[in-house]
Amino acid sequence: MATTAAPAPGQTPTAGGSYAAGEQTGIWSWLATVDHKRIGTLYLWTALSFFIVGGIEAFIIRLQLMRPNGQVVSAEVYNQLFTMHGTTMVFLVIMPLSAAFFNYLIPLQIGARDVAFPRLNAFSYWVYLFGGVFMTIPIFFGAAPNGGWFGYAPLTTMQFSGGLNIDFWVIGLQILGISSLAAAFNFITTIINMRAPGMTLMRMPIFTWMSFIVQFLLILAFPAITIALVFLQFDRFFGTQFYEIAAGADPLLWQHLFWVFGHPEVYILILPAFGLASEILPTFSKKPLFGYNVMVYSGIMIGFLGFGVWAHHMFAVGMGATADTIFSMATMLIGIPTGVKIFNWIATMWGGQIRFTVAMKFAIALVALFTIGGISGVMHSSPPTDLQQTDTYFIVAHFHYVLFGGSIMGIMGGIYFYYPKMTGRYMSEKIGNWHFWLFFIGMNLTFFPMHFSGMLGMPRRIYSYDVGQGWETFNFQSTIGVMIQGLGLILFVYNFLKSKKTGAVAPGDAWGAGTLEWSIPSPPPEYNFAQLPVVTSRYPLWDLKHPEMTAGLAHSGPDAMTVTDSHATPMHEETEYKNAADLGIPMPFPTIKPLFTALFLVLMFSGLLFIHLDLFPVALTIMIGCAAAFVGSLYGWLTSPLE
């Protein structure tokens, strides 16, 4: 997305639009960018593109299941579609959509000029993009991964899945893991080190808090799946026997490793959306978040307990009564901090002046729909009843209420909420309303009937079902629901594209919110803050504009020790675009080297595929060549000056 011409420094933007003063424009400025805002924008555009891909996959799945004995696609194609729908939505859509907000918002919310490692940030994005393309391309050739997003061994071993399908998945997920890990370390460093003077941890905006927790989940959870994937990769390419059943392997090794990652992953997907909703709800209720401390602690608690419940995905594997009991109780415990969050959100709105903007509607929908997903989660925390539900459509209903009703609704709210900050223009509320209601109604029509088809015996992951099994009505409803959601998605894309040019111009403080990102112009200048604000409470902008709203909060100025930046000044609003050089703010040089480093990394991995095409010399040439190029790019990156 090339930007429009930049205004002269010192000029206040009058027409809005997606520019910031003094910035480069054109394709090169995007390929070489190290600006967290641009990288966030790239994440957003890329993830939304994958959202459309994953949505089309879902649509074909639903067409196939609309009627019994559906003939739209073959069993093989269906298996690829459901595998890629899950993999895409988890790894290529929701995680990167969250990453878009991490990138864009964390520095703005904590009053920083960029992330700690801007180039590493660019590298994370390019690895994600190339890894995503690597995983997505084979679906167009009928060679996509077909082992499910969970890739259970031994089905995914060479004995049962020859061919390249699973290879794309094993390699692709490792590539994406590199992206997530690099980003996680970056954000942790940023949040710990780069907060504005006076912003103690317990004054951080709640979205930044939830993001902070998520980064720890990422660095603790991804190693587990990486180990699982490396084992599988070595089995497939180099003849090890971690999952080879003929050699006596225990397939549960995979399941334990996968779910030790897989369950925290659920919170990786949902906590950022919780954070976004926790920003939106107070703003449009004209009240601060109710029970900030408890919201933080419950987020930490959810993240912590999230590592102790993985085996509730495995109640049917025969772990024995004791293990079933322990994991069942741990799972029920998670209901407690989650319930607290729901009540605190409602209490935030209670007594407020609720404005029903589109963003607010999505945030309220998150509360309403996640409640359903949370309740059904507790319902199958009981192993004896779960044995009737696991691997049925009841579970499909459950996690779509969590991930669509929770994550996607929260992220959509976040997009409507932060679009004016990102572009300087509001999205159309009129079209947004249609989008919201089509999503809300379509979503419920799609997923609520799945509770019933599941309880009435319909297994998951089946490409067809027979006539007269009692599932026809529910499946037909679900398919209609997806069509309604599809209409909503089309309207959203239209709104998203059109508002960039024709939306109403937004001021810096687009909604009357209280956190730092709203104290600077929309879109923010490349340096974010000309003067770093000194923060004295959780809602610094309300301190400035509505002191009565934060009167009940503890205020304190920062110690002299903490204010070492010569740019730090008391809390203020910034409205002008200036030139970073004029302000004496050093900006990191743009560089394309992270892009090349990422590209060669991905190409190096893809060389492995040629081993299974029996082209060993080609594989070796590609891998060694790309490894050399990777090291070369990395050397160039590390030796070129930062700013």
Binding site: A316, M332, M349, P384
Partner: protein, 434 residues
């Protein structure tokens, strides 16, 4: 900002949910419902599930009602003053931290009790059934009876059946929703599941499914559980135990029966056969669940691919003796190597249940379905299956035998195989294996 209508359909959902829940109780319309009390396991689980469902619905209604009330009551009114700023309330927060605790305790206690009750070892004297998962069909062995069958399971009412679950390849999961929960079949591991169908349970057939994704034809790995009176079970098992010895005599009887059947309209057809020959009448085979008592949902309606052509007229002329020779005479092994994968007890000795790759066919004609419960077991379907199994079922590993058919396993047209007439002879023979 314009104010939009409030969410009114929350209440609508409750109504719909309640209606659907009521409807769910009807096994007539929902043959695979889990809301049943057909076995001791289902009684225990549903006692727990009723409580879970009741509590969940209650929490759902209360929370959503509070939410809807809140957004209605506190919608912005023009000119209203700035709301009172409340940053939190420790008492309230402790209260609603404790509420989930008090909701979870009455769920947790019976959960633990039921876990330990249902996972205890099966009572001594249970009927033992060994379940083996294959891509993509089920093998059932009754070690106490020396019986092996495929995809169709007979169990006596009122007697505890202990399933020993194993898989020969990837993971599968055994599930007959009407009788009890599921249990995975894990490679290199043995799992157990037991339950007792109620003694007063009417003789009927429960559909079952593989519920762990196992590859191409995961959806086509179905099973059927026949709950029958104990005396019928014994009769069935006694006959299933017998081998196919004496089949020449059966063949002779079959020929007579066929000629009678040709003169009179078929009344004993197992299931309606589109354009196919009528199935032979039942002979003295021990108890078999009567075809007439099958419910509509027990009879597979899987469409036959349009590409599958077979001259059904040949089926009526099928020569069982010729088919028997094709299958069992070693000189025909190259042409019809059925017995390299399928065990027909009494016809050869070199295969056992442990090394047979395909389903045991000793009493194949006593089954109502085949191919993982995908098709009604009748001559027309069996003939097409022999002709080109992979065209009938994605990923099927059985060789394509029909001359001129495309074999997706060999990626070539079959040149040396069986003619339609020969297939018809083999089917005629298979239909004698009652």
């Amino acid at each position: 900002m314009t104010r939009t209508p409030h969410r009114r359909h929350g209440a609508g959902f409750f109504v719909v949910a309640a209606l659907l829940a009521l409807a769910a109780c009807s096994t007539q319309d929902y043959p695979n419902t889990t809301f049943t009390h057909n076995s001791d396991l289902n009684v225990d689980v549903n006692a727990l599930w009723d409580r879970v469902l009741f509590m969940a619905t209650g929490v759902f209604i209360v929370v959503e009602a509070i939410l809807v009330f809140t957004i209605f009551k506190f919608r912005a009114k023009p000119g209203a003053p700035m709301p009172k700023q409340i940053h939190g309330n420790h008492v309230l927060e402790i209260v609603w931290t404790m509420i989930p605790v008090f909701i979870l305790i009455p769920l947790a206690i019976p959960t633990v009790k039921t876990i330990f009750k249902t996972q205890a070892p099966a009572p001594a004297g249970s009927l033992q059934v060994e379940v083996y998962g294959h891509q993509w069909w089920w093998e059932f062995r009754y070690p106490q009876y020396g019986v092996t069958t495929a995809n169709e399971l007979y169990i006596p009412t009122g007697k505890t059946v202990n399933f020993t679950l194993r898989t020969v390849d990837v993971l599968h999961s055994f599930w007959a929703p009407g009788l009890g929960g599921k249990r995975d079949l894990i490679t290199n591991k043995t799992n157990y599941l037991w339950y007792t169908p109620n003694a007063d349970l009417a003789e009927q057939v429960f559909n079952g499914f593989c519920t762990e994704y196992c590859g191409s034809s995961h959806a086509n790995m179905r099973l059927r559980v026949y709950t029958v009176k104990p005396e019928n079970f014994e009769s069935w098992a006694a006959h299933q135990k017998a081998g196919a010895e004496g089949s020449p005599a059966l063949i002779a009887a079959q020929k007579t029966a066929d000629s009678i059947a040709k003169k009179a309209p078929a009344k004993a057809a197992i299931v309606p056969t589109p354009g196919g020959a009528p199935s032979p009448p039942v002979m003295n085979t021990g108890y078999v669940f009567p075809a007439a008592n099958l419910k509509a949902h027990n009879i597979p309606r899987t469409p036959i691919p349009a590409s599958m052509k077979f001259d059904d007229g040949l089926l009526a002329q099928g020569d069982a003796a010729a088919g028997h020779a094709l299958v069992t005479n070693p000189v025909n092994m190259g042409k019809a190597p059925c017995l390299t994968c399928h065990l027909i007890r009494g016809e050869q000795a070199f295969l056992t249940d442990d090394n047979a790759k395909g389903p045991n066919l000793t009493h194949v004609a006593s089954r109502h379905t085949f191919a993982g419960g995908l098709f009604p077991s009748n001559p027309a379907n069996l003939a097409r299956w022999i002709k080109n199994a992979t065209a009938m079922k994605p990923g099927a590993t059985m060789t394509t035998f029909g001359i001129g058919e495309y074999s997706s396993l060999m990626k070539a047209k079959v040149t040396a195989g069986l003619t339609d007439k020969e297939i018809a002879d083999i089917v005629a023979y298979l239909m004698t294996l009652k």
